[in-house]
């Protein structure tokens, strides 16, 4: 089990949280003019990196607030957590 540092509650067990995939995917604003490919890319296509992953979590069995985390997808180590809307944190140039 991994420990996750909720920005609002502090360090808690992973089972209190739910992961909701890649973060920093902005909904397109010019929706009327999007092609099928652009819609498909926004809705379904993901980076799925082997390495640093910026992702969304929700503290579903705690404060129920959303936040973002940086995790290495091979070690599963969470390198940083930060509030939604904040820029990607610097995690020491790791890839």
């Amino acid at each position: 089990m991994i420990l996750i540092n909720c920005p609002y509650c502090g360090e808690r067990d992973q089972t209190e949280f739910a992961c909701h995939g890649e973060a920093h995917i902005a909904r397109p604003t010019d929706t009327a003019s999007l092609t099928d490919e652009q819609w498909g890319d926004y809705v379904f296509f993901r980076t799925n990196p082997k390495g640093i992953h910026y992702e969304r979590w929700v503290h579903v069995h705690g404060c129920r607030r959303w936040f973002n985390a940086v995790r290495h997808t091979v070690q599963d180590e969470i390198l940083a957590t930060y509030e939604v809307g904040a820029p990607r944190p610097d995690v020491g140039g790791q890839q």
């Binding site: 991994i2 992973q14 992961c19 819609w39 379904f44 296509f45 980076t47 799925n48 990196p49």
Partner: protein, 414 residues
């Protein structure tokens, strides 16, 4: 290739087992091939086998980063079935079962395909409606399936606890479903492909693609550059990594999927039991171990370990359903990395790069499809366009919206 037979067994026994031929060669890579298959798991080796034996492609190579069948082929729970709801799924999975049924004979290699029956349990009114709908859809596709009452379930598995927390209300049985020896599938296809002239190159990692004018012409590997007329990528959990090398993204996320085996016991369960409602599936290997699986992890990862909480989520329903298993110990636990699409159906497709084909997205249940996937993919690569069975599984469906949404309706072990 010397055929395996009773006579060969006797002859080699008399020769102190010293004259057995190696099952496949370990050649150095040639400068170029007509088709290069990346990934030496079951699906990749099956693709190479059918390319060489049925499609008339002479120069084929399989490039594998590690050893044959060391990925998900060697990590799954060996379940084979074709009880799917949708026509496209029924098409490819039933195609696979028909090939499974003659596979040991065709490959001259015992893949231990055992049609011991696959029993899917229903625990709620919703489950009953789901198996009713799916069972009838399976019938309409000409595939075997039977509805069972709780009493009939108990006759098949006498020690089941029907009155568990979510009582068993019925079952859906596919008698032609069952299990196969997963390693033997990789080895059998490897041996057959090698005999047909396919070069199987292990311990050779692909590091990039050579793409000219949006057309793939070769691959860079840790053993040098290998030219290729066409390239088929069959790398399961690492498909997104390979796609990134080729300059595009896939509608995939990779998750660990765990499995467990118990200590070996005498034969006790002679079918595969799976429960979607309380989420566990179990069968017994020929060694006597219970082979147990359940859901994938809660977050995407390439760790090949699996998270601890899933163990409890799996063992809980297992002992609820079969209280006598509570005294067994688990011997081993492991995880494989499964590439999951949003509609839980696979991708067999052309890509934005010409002559580059991907076979991926099998998610939590690719093993059962191994022969059908390889067969359809081989014929599609050889023809340069996806055949009738593979066509619905194009990447384009994520743009057009023609998803093959098995996610809600499929049984647990997809």
């Amino acid at each position: 290739m010397k055929a395996y037979s009773l006579l060969a067994l006797a002859r080699n026994g008399l020769a102190w087992q010293k004259d057995w031929q190696r099952a496949w060669r370990s050649p150095d890579p040639a400068a170029a091939y007509d088709v290069v298959i990346i990934g030496g798991g079951g699906h990749g080796l099956a693709t190479a086998y059918y390319l060489a034996t049925q499609c008339g492609v002479n120069k084929v190579a399989v490039i594998e980063k590690g050893w044959l069948g060391g990925g998900n082929t060697g990590r799954n729970t060996t379940i084979v079935r074709s009880n799917y709801l949708l026509d496209a799924s029924a098409g490819i999975y039933e195609h696979a079962i028909k090939l499974w049924e003659g596979l040991s004979q065709e490959l001259n290699y015992n893949v231990m395909f055992s049609q011991r029956g696959l029993l899917h349990l229903a625990h709620s009114v919703h489950d009953m409606q789901e198996i009713g709908r799916r069972g009838n859809a399976i019938h309409l596709n000409g595939i075997d399936s039977e509805f069972l009452t709780p009493q009939q379930v108990q006759q098949m598995v006498p020690f089941i606890n029907l009155n568990c927390r979510y009582p068993v209300m019925g079952g859906l049985l596919q008698k032609r479903g069952g299990t196969a020896r997963h390693d033997a599938v990789a080895w059998g296809y490897a041996r057959g492909a090698d005999a047909a002239g396919v070069d199987i190159i292990q311990n050779c990692e692909v590091t990039g693609f050579q793409i000219e004018n949006n057309k793939v012409v070769g691959v860079d590997t840790t053993r040098g550059r290998i030219g290729a007329g066409k390239v088929g990528v069959v790398t399961a959990g690492h498909s997104s990594v390979l796609a990134e090398m080729a300059g595009f993204r896939l509608p995939l996320e990779s998750y660990p999927l765990q499995a467990w085996v118990s200590e070996p016991i005498k034969p006790i369960i002679d079918c595969v039991v799976m429960s979607n409602g309380i989420h566990v599936y179990v069968s017994q290997s020929d060694k006597g171990e219970l082979v147990v699986g359940a859901g994938s992890d809660a977050y995407n990862s390439y760790s090949q370990r699996g998270s601890f909480d899933l163990i409890e989520h799996t063992v809980g329903p297992l002992v609820e359903l079969f209280p006598l298993f509570s005294r067994l110990r688990m011997l081993r636990q492991w995880a494989g990395i499964v590439d999951v699409t949003v509609d839980r159906s696979p991708i067999l497709s052309k890509t934005p790069v010409e002559n580059l084909f991907f076979n991926c997205g099998w998610g939590t249940g690719g093993f059962k499809a191994t022969p059908g996937s390889g067969h359809a993919f081989a014929h599609s690569i050889a023809a340069g366009s996806m055949n009738e069975i593979a066509a619905p599984f194009s990447i384009d469906r994520f743009n057009s919206g023609a998803l093959i949404d098995e996610g809600a309706a499929a049984a647990v072990a997809h």
